[in-house]
Symmetry: C2
Subunit: 157 residues, 2 copies
């Protein structure tokens, strides 16, 4: 996709869904540790993690939150969205190599303030819910189409 196109408030209906899939990599964990400052060893140190109840390294919980927020920012509603709030329950760990499916479903719309509510769910490749919650946004009222911004190359190590 070289274009971003938003979904305006009027184009969004209760029950509409967006989905995306992402596999957690070493790179994801390192970038998230860097940008958050969260160097808790359960994310970074395999030997330490082996001695925890998780038995292996896990993703930062907010990595999952970040993926959910990205769907709101680029897919639906996309450009012009104002992010009002997010609830998240972290229900199971995300391990390196896990493929997480993110699904956001429009659960409510408020015409007066153009507010849209989304039920948010993240599940792993075994069908287990790893996180769930709710997002609230103000959806844009004007149609926006524009070239998708590109990022500079980011290298680790």
């Amino acid at each position: 996709m070289t274009q971003l196109e938003n979904r305006t408030f009027d184009e969004i209906a209760i029950g509409d869904k967006i989905q995306a899939e992402k596999t957690l990599t070493e790179r994801d964990i390192l970038l998230f540790a860097e940008v958050s400052g969260d160097v808790n060893p359960v994310h970074l140190d395999a030997e330490y993690a082996a001695g925890t109840l998780f038995k292996q390294r896990i993703a930062h919980g907010m990595w999952t939150g970040a993926q959910i927020s990205a769907l709101l920012g680029v897919q639906m509603p996309g450009p012009g969205t104002i992010y009002l709030g997010q609830n998240l329950s972290f229900r199971a760990p995300v391990y390196l190599g896990d493929t997480i499916e993110f699904e956001l479903t429009v659960s409510d719309k408020r015409d007066d303030k153009k507010i849209v509510h989304f039920q948010c769910k993240a599940s792993n490749q075994h069908g287990k819910t790893v996180a769930s919650g709710e997002a609230q946004v103000i959806a844009p009222t004007e149609k926006i189409r524009l070239p998708r911004p590109t990022l500079p190359n980011i290298t680790i190590g």
Copy 2:
């Protein structure tokens, strides 16, 4: 700090606070866009952002969430923490160069399940609250001290 030391459930009291300060840089925005996939132009494109109600580029909302989660993971409780959930309300934009103060205050403890609740607040250099919410964690019961993990060098462009 070259060491990480946790605060066990018993060492945490209602009213305890942790604080940290961070200034939002271009690098933060680019890293967060990369790790989340959120390339919404309000974060990346100054010209586009100038035409929005924000008038300039803003941080990803979940960047603020990520900083809050990092305080739980490295400061209090720190290593051994299990992150159960997070609520966030995004109340005002965070602009490039803003210095955000994050403050987490222990608001409740549940002895039976070792659950600790934190009130979370992020404020900018003008004293305006940019985000607030609540976190729930299971705090560790065993003391952990260990060397602070270091990250590889990450370069952009």
